[in-house]
Amino acid sequence: MGEAPFLEIERVEVAYGATRVLDDISLQLAEGEFLALLGASGCGKTTLLRAIAGFVPVRRGRILVAGRDLAGVPPERRGVAMVFQSYALWPHMTVAQNIAYGLKLRGVGREERRRRVERLLAMLGLEGLGGRRPGELSGGQRQRVALGRALAVDPRVLLLDEPLSNLDARIRQTVRHEIKELQQRLGITAVHVTHDREEAMVMADRIAILDAGRIVQLGTPREIYEQPNSPFVAAFMGAENELRLRVRGEGARLWVEPGPSWEAQLLPADSRDGGVRGRPPAVGTARALFRSETARVLADGEELPGALVMRGEVRQAAYLGGRWRYGVDVAGARLLIDDPRRFEAGDRVRVAVPAPALFLFAEDGAA
């Protein structure tokens, strides 16, 4: 990514009336990069996409494509193509007419149009469907027609607004990879909006996590997954078990003070060397988050050095295939813990979370 950014978003602010929807958003994408905007509904991710497409006025800040400021440029002259969540295919046109629409506007001749539409239909596995109306297609086929329409105009930037959310779970899995592969093959710069963490990780080179109109973290899928910078990101990336611990830093180690369900214990504190992650406070209460699949139940008498160990009671069990997910009550909180062995409700167990799987953050965001 050493080259000049291709799509630049500079301190963009968008507001509807008095409601600020996007606040000080800055992003830079290299040419050919795939960025996912990940966030819960209402966080402003679709608004950002619509601002890039020119459907939403930007109150402050700049959006640039290949160095050109898009302020005042109407949607039709931005050279960005969008795949809508609803697909927005024109019901009164055939599939071929839908795809050829942008080409026709660009003055591409009839014969050339036909050839390019054929090529796109073949590329998207829609051979022979050119004469159909969108209403006669399945959801997956419509999604591909919408993608084909966007790709037909050779866009400089491809915008994807939750294009997979209306598909069956199984089709979604394959389409993810298809879109990613297509985007890489064509070398298009793409911004993809989604609320699906796995989808973002599979498809994107980088992920921007949005919360209440702000980017809270930006990084590669691995960075975001392994080094979330806030409890919000950690929870959003699947670390949904949460506890409060009183901790005290001591060089490369971290004392956990005794709590209602755990003894005083010592954890490694250097995250580069198998220690806890996140930003624990020097002294004070920390929010501790971890993923269910990283914890496990200890056998009787078993010790796991360098792990947080707690006592709890099994309350419910669900079989996930190959392992069980247990609801374990620890210090009044319900934690979800995965383990391959079978336990019954009412069993008293010890639960261990290895230090590298533990994300610690000072309470109230104070460092």
């Binding site: 039709e76 969008m82 609803s86 295919l89 009164h92 629409y101 506007l105 329409r149």
Partner: protein
């Protein structure tokens, strides 16, 4: 069925019969008159049936055919003028935010709230001073004022039923606002606009009061002819012209049934 049950049905049957009489009685009477050659007082039914009056109505250069032609010509011009005005107005209204839209639509309806006789008399006075009285253009203008309310309401509903994302997709693909309107919004709203055109056409064809004040004596439409005929006791001619006027209405109902989507109709007035 027991006698008691049959008795219980009697009031309902009577009520239905009475209702049918009120609805179909006059229509039936008209139908009789259309084919009656001779029919006078103490007789309940015509003394003689035949097609003499039909022949007279459809005779070449007959007054009836001429006024039919005038009626159709005026209705066609009214449709053109109404649609030309309702297309931009309806599109703009459909894209307005809701409270404002309702307000403007209500304003459009306001002239209809006044008794239309004084309105037409005043229009006639105004037209008289500018020389529009007794001209086809004058009648077309009066019909347009009347038809525009329906045209704007129906057209607005038709455009409002077009998903805005479909227009955004066109803009996104490189179409200007105008191009988007012609290639996406208009074709998708076409069934509703067609309905509005047909509705305006029929309204103009049936319109009497305005035509009477503005058109008489130089412009004679079919309803005016019908009025003169029945005033002159010529019920046969009046009934036959009424039947002719019925044909387009029936056709319209068929078209509405076949082509108009329920979601367009549901948006009328919202």
């Amino acid at each position: 069925m027991s006698a008691r049950a049959a008795l219980a049905w009697l009031p309902r049957a009577l009520l239905l019969g009475l209702l049918a009489f009120f609805i179909f009685g006059p229509l039936f009477n008209m139908l009789l008159w259309a084919f009656a050659e001779r029919w006078y007082f103490p007789h309940r039914l015509p003394l003689e049936f035949g097609f003499d009056f039909w022949a007279r109505v459809f005779a070449p250069r007959s007054q009836a055919l001429q006024s039919l032609a005038t009626s159709v010509w005026i209705a066609s011009l009214t449709v053109l003028l109404c649609t030309a005005l309702a297309l931009p107005a309806g599109y703009a209204l459909a894209r307005l935010s809701l409270p404002l839209r309702s307000l403007i639509m209500l304003l459009f309806l306001l002239p209809q709230a006044f008794p239309n006789l004084p309105v037409y008399i005043n229009i006639a006075r105004m037209f008289y001073t500018v020389g529009l009285n007794g001209t086809v253009l004058g009648v077309v203008l009066v019909h347009t004022v009347h038809g525009l309310v329906y045209a704007v309401w129906i057209t607005t509903a038709a455009f409002a039923a077009v998903d805005r994302e479909l227009e955004e997709a066109a803009r996104n693909m490189g179409a200007s606002r105008l191009r988007t309107f012609w290639t996406v919004s208009l074709p998708l709203a076409a069934p509703g606009i067609l309905a509005s055109a047909i509705f305006v056409f029929l309204e103009s064809l049936d319109e009497f009061t305005g035509t009477y004040f503005v058109g008489v004596p130089d412009v004679t439409t079919l309803p005016l002819l019908m009025f003169t005929a029945s005033m002159g006791g010529n019920y046969q001619i009046a009934s036959i012209t009424a039947l002719i006027l019925l044909v387009p209405s029936l056709l319209f109902m068929l078209v509405i049934e076949r082509f108009l989507r329920a979601d367009v109709l549901a948006k009328v007035g919202t």
